[in-house]
Amino acid sequence: MSVELRNITYTYNKDEPSARVALKNVSLRLDDGDFVGLIGHTGSGKSTLMQVLAGLLPPNEGELLPEGKSYPDYKSAARVARKSTGLVFQYPEHQLFEETVYKDIAFGPLNRGLSADEADSRVREAARRVGVETLLDKSPFDLSGGQKRRVAIAGVVAMKPELLILDEPTAGLDPEGARELLAMLGSLHGDWCKTIILASHSMEDVAKTVKTVAVMNGGRLVMSGSVAEVFSRGEELRSMGLDTPQISRIVDGLIKAGLPLRRDIFTVADAADAIAALMGGGKNA
């Protein structure tokens, strides 16, 4: 689903002494097939932006246009946005509530009005894709942290949202778990969810998973473009308390030391290939 935000401004605790502007005049457009990574320093407004996108937080100013269309009032726009969007909050495992994993994953599909049979196949398919099919009969409260996270994500994925939004899905996971989760998201993109946007603090995660990157700073959307475009502006990113992936810093160092490497290398695998090619070897698998 394509969705657009136009000149969105949002202030928490408006009209109170603790008022805090979280979004300033943010415009953003997501098209079918997009896979966006949202990066930004702590407090830059990523989570707020995602809630506005999902139709869960009415903006103070600006317009939400789900499916690229304008609606007469916010309510109807939000209803459309909610219907086709699945939002995985940060630490989604804190929202599990059912007796069994199966029932928890089925909550969303049943709410969307699917029949028991359809919901059943959705639950099994989502559980398989997310890698929790062996846990279906367990209580969600008896699982490990990483397993809970997967179950919670499966609960959103099972609704088969056209737009899947994930707020720091890998926070607190071990490197292996994070890798698996990102690979899983990559495999969902396209055939299960048309559009995915994920927020992350890890430049490595973003570089190897998404296609385009959007950068938030102090409530504003300050950059967006392909992974290569954004990460080639290392100085600017560093001035915002962000950075480029570790491997591109190493590649930069190697270039400075005189090696003829390309600048647009952002994943370890690409770097390994490039260096191997330089040393006269073939592609290392």
Binding site: E16, P17, S18, G86, F89, F97, F107, G108, G155, V156
Partner: protein, 268 residues
């Protein structure tokens, strides 16, 4: 929506009420409530209303912020007022429909009840709006400390209260987030009959309680790790002292009492 509940919230500005010693304010609230329940004539109520208005003004908390806190209790108020309005047997009848009737006594009692409830809420919210939770519980601890000799665990009571107060905003935020998360999964909290609505609360309440217990557990461990062992021998960072504002509070208290006694004597 949950942000509308201002009960127990602190509004951080500088005002004479904010600067007052918490013990003064606590005693004042108890005193205020006593006066409120002793008041009987319209003159006394008018006096207390004027006094409350002055106090609100002095606190520099916007009136709209305080009235927002009244919203959640509107139902309770309507219920009380309705009960008094329709169920008062005495007085001359003004209106009748079946077993329901309104008498002039009923109207008077209902209006008094409404005014009393509103004043009660405003008075007590002024206390929490102008006193930060830590200072408030510090004040409670000091006020209760004379009873410690009789075996009252005053420090523990204050500690429990400050922890509870501390976690109200956290739990509100958590509830807000859980509601959003379940809404995003298609949960519907607004339609359907009462049974359906109660059942629809499970996806909110279960995670909320699980989270609250988890937090309590973590907090207990963290406190033990820092060698918390109750109140014995514990000193406080904050020293409370009576100042100019507290003196004024005393003057107001005496003045108000004198005015009410005068009214009672004159109108007898």
């Amino acid at each position: 929506m949950l942000r509308d509940i201002t009960l127990g919230q602190y509004y951080s500005v500088d005002s004479p009420l904010h600067r007052m010693d918490p013990r003064t304010k606590l005693l004042w609230v108890i005193y205020y409530m006593t006066l409120l329940f002793m008041a009987s004539s319209a003159w006394e109520y008018a006096l207390i209303v004027i006094f409350t208005a002055i106090a609100v003004r002095a606190s520099r908390v916007p009136l709209s912020f305080i009235t927002r806190g009244l919203k959640p209790i509107v139902i309770l108020m309507l219920f009380t007022v309705g009960l008094n309005l329709f169920m008062t047997p005495t007085g001359s009848e003004l209106w009748r429909w079946g077993f329901l009737k309104i008498t002039d006594d009923g109207v008077v009692i209902a209006v008094k009840m409404a005014v009393r409830l509103v004043l009660l809420i405003i008075g007590s919210s002024l206390l929490t709006l102008t006193t930060s939770p830590i200072v408030l519980t510090g004040g409670i601890e000091r006020l209760l400390s004379p009873f410690a000799r009789l075996g009252l665990p005053s420090h523990e009571i204050a500690m429990m209260m400050s922890i509870a107060l501390r976690f109200i905003p956290t739990l509100m935020e958590e509830t807000d987030k859980i509601i959003k998360a379940q809404t995003s999964r298609g949960a519907d909290f607004e339609s359907g009959g009462p049974i359906k609505r109660v059942r629809a609360m499970a996806p909110i309440l279960v995670p909320l309680f699980v989270g609250a217990f988890r937090r309590a557990d973590e907090l207990a461990v963290a406190m033990e790790c820092r060698c918390y062992h109750g109140g014995t021998g514990r000193t406080s960072l904050r020293r409370f002292a009576f100042g100019r504002d507290d003196f004024f509070a005393l003057v107001w208290a005496v003045g108000l009492l004198a005015a009410i006694i005068t009214i009672k004597v004159v109108t007898r």
